[in-house]
């Protein structure tokens, strides 16, 4: 959300442009560390981009040094936690109206500490006009970059790095936006940029693109001709006029020429035969609204037709639209979509971009930052720092729209490691991680938003408790509450604000907000304690398992996995139990489990499979710390290893709820290895490998995984994927199709969801799938 902060500045319009006061913690954040700048000045909006570093507190775990000491220290935690500062890279993009440009430049000058920066990359039609002003204010040399090159670089960047970037616009449907899953290969595509004129560019690779055509009938025609016809000066006002008008009063329709006969002839009478065809008369007045609407149709249809002709000539079916004519305006998206559907008979898809307005700025920035190789990294949209997509109905949330119209933000975090598809996905292009689309499912949306609202108190409490030594923890936690609460309210009104709304995106947004206010790992202490307790039970559990005969043991192992999964602070039903009964144990958890047959139960098939030859290599995505990973996953891993199956154990790179992190898993494994020869030798011989997922989410997106993991999966020829936990196996991936065997198991710790799936609280999902031959 773009909190302008400065009271009243959002609604005050142009007059306050010089006196606007900008709150640094809201708009130009992290300026003090900013190093590269780029600016894209369009006809009415300026987009500023800069690269900065963010200091974050991160929770680190470290093994105690046990060497030569007696390890039987019952009261000691298994490892120590320290909070350290870590620097991560972030891209900031700020969009504001050109009227604020001087105020903004002054502000930047005042807050810019870093003096290494000498150059600012500039693009857009206004770059020339404001060149002197920028050079004077910022003392930076303006380097002009080609507009289209920037646009395309920016487009490639968002298509590759932002999930749900592209969407189709569906008139009169709820939601109006239908987001597209990111295609693994974004090329080739057609970019139709509708600025004052229209440019049609075919993009074939990262660096190869070609201007294949254009049209002079574009946004400038709408604006210029519209201003002449209606005496309305502003683009937005013209669009508003158009949205109220009736083009049939001005246009000559097929039915005007054919009379009523068009029906029998199979013609659609509403088709426009001649734009403005009825205005060829001296003795009639036409309303501004009607003329504006007719003009809008004329231009949109024309652009759509040309785009289709070019798409056909170049055999392309994906056409992205951008430029100020589109810029999120529902009226233009609607008419363009209609036109494309009409002229291509549905064969070409009109796609729009959530961050369309930023493409030029992103591209200019990337041009200037080439030496930093930004394209080598993966980036992720920071939901905490980014404004969402606006609702198409201004009346829905007028204040928010007004504010965001003034300042709009996009922040992207540089991820430590590049993310790629899991090589075992059956069809990467059709893979959708999320099980339920909450933008679609209003009932589920309502439930989950309320659920997250209700859980907010607990999260705030937990966050404060995790930093007992901090003086400002309570204050920061309160800010976190406000931020996340606001996000939830935005999403209630505009579920599409950040792409497809899912339980995953709600969880991720919460993590981003927590990080934003320096609560990197509120569960670190809980996890530490749980891990300590569970480690102590490990040997007892393992010996009990070893005492069972083979068949009993297999079931016990699976039950152990499931029971461990009950320990989940992310689930409200469970966190209530854990909160009130800290002694709640493994055995109690097992008792809570549903008896077989489970809600989804393919255990028989799995057992049958286990009687066959061992798997070559299993990839296991672990879920919670403590009992789950130590008493559930590790015994299971141990059994697989004993069968001769290699195991890759994948844990989150960063913290999310009480999920076990990669670093924690290293320590846990080390501690278990010290107790258990099977694990010990497997680690030493690299038959058991611990890897990180590249994610910090309680859910799992198999299309964005750490490259190292993907490489390993390929090298070891993984032929079994085990996904555990509600977040990874139910909210996401429940329907994921893999090209190898897979096991998805979870305990449903949410009664609403359980009911939806036809079960009840603590119902068990055990889904063993073998791909069709």
């Amino acid at each position: 959300m773009a909190e302008c902060g400065a009271s009243g500045s959002g609604s005050s319009g142009d007059s306050l442009d010089k006196s606007i006061t900008l709150p640094p913690d809201e708009i130009f954040r992290n300026l003090e560390n900013a190093k590269r700048f780029a600016i894209d000045i369009g006809g009415s909006l300026t987009k500023l981009a800069y690269y900065s570093t963010v200091q974050h507190k991160v929770a680190k775990v470290r093994s105690f040094d046990y060497s030569g000491k007696d390890t039987e220290q019952d009261h000691e935690p298994p490892y120590e936690i320290s909070v350290q500062e870590e620097v991560t890279a972030r891209l900031h993009f700020v969009k504001f109206e050109n009227t604020y440009i001087e105020a903004c430049l002054d502000f930047i000058k005042d807050h810019l500490v870093n003096t290494e920066t000498k150059v600012i990359q500039a693009t857009g039609g206004g770059a020339y006009k404001f060149k002197d002003l920028i050079e004077e204010k910022l003392q930076l040399k303006v380097d002009k970059e080609d507009v289209m090159t920037c646009l395309i670089k920016g487009c490639n960047f968002v298509l590759k790095n932002i999930p749900h970037e592209a969407f189709v616009y569906q008139k009169d449907s709820d939601p109006e936006f239908r987001f597209q899953t990111n295609h693994p290969n974004i090329f080739p595509y057609l970019l139709v940029n509708i600025g004052s004129g229209v440019s049609i560019v075919k993009v074939e690779t990262e660096d190869r693109f070609e201007w294949i055509g254009g049209s002079s009938i574009g946004g400038g025609t709408f604006w210029g001709l519209g201003a002449l016809l209606t005496k309305t000066k502003k683009f937005d006002e013209l669009l508003q006029l158009a949205s109220r008008g009736q083009h049939t009063n001005v246009d000559m329709l097929v039915q005007d020429i054919y009379g009523g006969a068009h029906e029998t002839l199979g013609l659609s009478g509403n088709l426009i035969a001649s734009s403005f065809g009825k205005s060829a008369t001296a003795d009639q007045e036409f309303s501004k609204e009607d003329m504006a609407k007719s003009l809008l149709h004329m231009i949109s249809n024309d652009i759509g037709q040309l785009a289709c002709l070019y798409a056909r000539l170049h055999c392309l079916d994906r056409v992205y639209f951008g430029g100020f004519f589109i810029r999120g305006h529902p009226v233009t998206m609607r008419t363009i979509t209609y036109s494309i559907n009409f002229f291509s008979k549905g064969e070409v898809q009109a796609l729009f971009l959530r961050h369309e307005g930023y493409l030029g700025a992103i591209g200019a920035f990337l041009k200037g930052a080439e030496q930093d190789n930004p394209n080598q990294y993966s980036w992720g949209e920071n939901y905490a720092g980014s404004s969402g997509l606006m609702s198409s109905s201004p009346e829905l949330c007028p204040t928010q729209r007004a504010r965001s119209g003034t300042f709009d933000l996009l922040e992207m975090d540089r991820l430590e490691r590049p993310l790629v598809n899991l090589p075992l996905l059956l069809d990467p292009s059709s893979y959708v991680p999320d099980t339920v689309d909450l933008t679609d499912d209003a009932l589920a949306r309502k439930y989950w938003l309320t659920c997250f609202e209700e859980a907010l108190d607990g999260v705030v409490k937990r966050a404060v408790a995790s930093q007992p030594g901090s003086v400002d923890a309570a204050e920061r936690a309160e800010k976190f509450r406000q931020k996340y609460w606001n996000k939830l309210q935005t999403l209630r009104h505009q579920p599409f604000a950040y792409g497809t709304l899912t339980v995953r995106s709600l969880l991720d947004t919460r993590e981003h907000c927590l990080n934003e206010f320096n609560f990197p790992d509120p569960y670190s202490k809980v996890k530490q304690k749980d891990n300590g307790v569970a480690l102590k039970c490990f040997q007892r559990v393992v010996s009990a398992l070893d005492a069972l005969d083979w068949e009993e043991r297999q079931l016990a192992l699976v039950k152990g996995l499931l029971a461990g999964n009950v320990f989940d602070w992310g689930a409200k039903a469970v966190s209530d139990v854990l909160e009130s009964d800290p002694q709640f144990g493994f055995e109690e958890a097992k008792k809570k489990l549903q008896e077989r047959p489970w809600l989804v139960d393919s255990y028989g098939k799995w057992l049958q499979r286990l009687k066959g030859p061992p798997h070559k290599c299993a990839l296991i995505f672990a879920d919670n710390s403590g009992v789950d990973v130590i008493l559930g996953v590790f015994p299971f891993v141990r059994e697989l290893l004993s069968r001769g199956t290699e195991v890759i154990l994948a844990c989150n790179s960063g913290p999310a709820l009480n999920d076990v992190t990669y670093n924690e898993s290293l320590i846990v494994a080390e501690r278990i290895a010290a107790m258990d020869p099977v694990i010990h030798s497997a680690l030493r011989e690299e038959r058991l490998l611990l890897v990180q997922t590249g994610s910090s989410s309680p859910c799992l997106d198999l299309s964005r995984l750490d490259k190292g993991l993907a490489v390993l999966v390929r090298e070891r020829g993984a032929d079994l994927v085990v996904i555990e936990g509600m977040g990874r196996a139910v909210h996401t991936n429940y329907h994921a199709a893999l090209c190898c065997e897979s096991l998805k198991l979870a305990v449903i710790k949410n009664s609403w969801l359980a009911e939806r799936l036809g079960g009840q609280l603590f119902s068990v999902i055990f889904k063993y799938e073998v791909p069709a031959e």
């Binding site: 289209m148 004129g197 400038g220 025609t221 604006w223 006969a261 426009i272 065809g277 004329m298």
Partner: protein, 453 residues
Amino acid sequence: MGAGWLAAPMERHARAAATSASSARESVLGGPDGRRREPLRRRANSASAPAVGASASASPSGEGVRRDRPGSYSGATSASRQRVESLRKKRPLFPWFGLDIGGTLVKLVYFEPKDITAEEEEEEVESLKSIRKYLTSNVAYGSTGIRDVHLELKDLTLCGRKGNLHFIRFPTHDMPAFIQMGRDKNFSSLHTVFCATGGGAYKFEQDFLTIGDLQLCKLDELDCLIKGILYIDSVGFNGRSQCYYFENPADSEKCQKLPFDLKNPYPLLLVNIGSGVSILAVYSKDNYKRVTGTSLGGGTFFGLCCLLTGCTTFEEALEMASRGDSTKVDKLVRDIYGGDYERFGLPGWAVASSFGNMMSKEKREAVSKEDLARATLITITNNIGSIARMCALNENINQVVFVGNFLRINTIAMRLLAYALDYWSKGQLKALFSEHEGYFGAVGALLELLKIP
């Protein structure tokens, strides 16, 4: 032309009996499809009416009911004459009209027989004679009807008759007056078949029937268009070539209009610019398809000009355009990039944004109506050129014929089309034009009447 028609001297519509009775036979249009056959059936039935004599033609309106009565097929008195008539060529009765009722203009072609024998003249009914005289002795009909004398095709042989082909147009909004005139002059007594095409053939069909007692033979617009073009091209233009092109279209000094021999017409992209635009790919006489169309056509040019300049006629709009400067209105590539946009190979003179300069208040105040008319013309023309070029590329056709009344007296548009097509296709595409611009549909309709393939 309505007023003009009505102002025509009142005629006696006497005795159509003899000729019309036989005409029922001759004018058998028996097309293969039901749609074409329908009016014929009516013709056959109505043949009885004239037998009743002058009373019928004097009646205020042809009651459809009476005429539709079956079994009244030709009276016994005319039986012997019929036998004689049947020896004559099977051609319809005069007058021979072809009608194309478009969104803005009605195009009428009229064949004036010049080989009328004395005997024929003797037999010719008054109303027929008066129509002939009226049409051929005037060049304007009322305030809006116009005969394009310069287009007249002389000494044409049609169905064994020699004569001149006349080209007449009037605004579609005068159609009711035209129909009323048909009623007043009792056209129905002539038993001529009105072959009509264009959307108006459908729209006004009922009016023709109820007001004028005239049954239209409705014909497909595109069929007629193609038929008309191919026929007119084959007969030439009074010894000259029908088809032409422009050499050096961008250079007003060196620009030349030169004849083009359309000896290999296929494949051909046909761009018909009327109120809207239709684009057809023609592969042979009977094999064609509609590729696409655009609503940005002549109606848009004229409509926008009316709104922007207050002009009232197409001629006025064009005249203004000829004196205007569109570069004051349009934003050119050089206005944005200071010159050529080399990255994309765009020349500085190219229009980047039509009406783009009009985003600025100062510039809006600085332009004249003439500039606006010119810019409107350039915008619409360039856009048609651009769509035509893309269609030609997609259909793999390199000769493009532009027709339609938008091009009438519109050299600016034609030269621009010629230049744009040549420039953007790097010489691969050729823009062709045809002298009879907007009349092909009407000619096609006439050919249908005469069953000329």
